[in-house]
Symmetry: D2
Subunit: 104 residues, 4 copies
């Protein structure tokens, strides 16, 4: 996935619709959380086991909600000047220190 | 960003810590929403303008929360059999139909 | 508001629909978060000022989402054995210690 | 629970700390969602069964998070001019129409 290219497409998409005034990081963070909760709603009444065996319709719905979350996430990073790939590598290193493996 | 490679690293990270039983899509969706809200917390008392001018500390914190959301998002896609890149392209096409540009 | 009476009505409502197996505290917490995000959605693209001047339609919508959050909140307390009024008084006392008033 | 009295206490608490400028309905909705997710976090890795058998420490933590959500909820209603008790009765009536009981 070419993150920078996607971020440019999303900037152009917003510009073509005069959405820039709405796209503060604060508002984008709200929108991302709303989409995360729409994804959560798919699973809210499912058993753990049912959540592991989605139907094709549920999987397609899940793909749409995952995309919504990801597209807002990329826009937050873009509008806030965060280098997402560097941040992810840094977080993975932090997680490895915070949670050592059980076996070496 | 090589999504498949990241998903393999996250699977190995979980396996090395015996976390697999906890990582149902239902639980991962909860964890992703919790991380989205931690990101939201950064912005909750900021004005729109302040959210556009984060300090270096705030930007670093934001990068950590963006990474947390993204890492759970990649795991949900992986554990549910969603092809994330295909889903994103499909969603972008749907959005273009749903929200036509103002000017052609 | 008679909290215990409301909790009894909600228990009866669920029993009349055979919803008890779904109403674990875990699932109810997911449902409450989903409703909180639906409330958040009302405000996501509004300016701070617009959020202070809702239309009648927006206010009615807000009342529905506030009710949804509250009804799940009361069910979580009920199903988990939390005395909500005592918990609120305790939290208010904690908040007063944590955030002393500016003037005495 | 005397909702109006609680709302007056919360207004006074905010005034004593000069918090009024921050307490737009938009910001309060963000804060309520953040607290809902902190409550969700208690349950994220628990099985459905474990969520029904909380320890005393977990129950106390849950009471604190339920209170946080409720206190923001009461402030949103207060600052937006929503009559919460009327809204709840209206929503219960709507739910009864939307979801008829299985047996009459």
């Amino acid at each position: 996935m070419d993150i920078s290219a996607l971020q440019r497409r999303l900037r152009q998409f917003a510009a073509d619709r005069d959405w820039q005034p709405y796209q503060t990081p604060k508002n984008l963070a709200m929108a991302m959380t709303v989409e995360a909760a729409e994804l959560l709603e798919i699973f809210q009444w499912l058993t753990p086991e049912q959540s592991q065996q989605l139907s094709d319709d549920q999987r397609q719905h899940l793909g749409e909600e995952l995309s919504d979350v990801l597209l807002y996430l990329l826009q937050i990073a873009d509008h806030s000047g965060v280098d997402l790939e560097a941040a992810v590598e840094r977080k993975l290193a932090m997680n490895a220190v915070k949670h050592p493996p059980l076996r070496s």
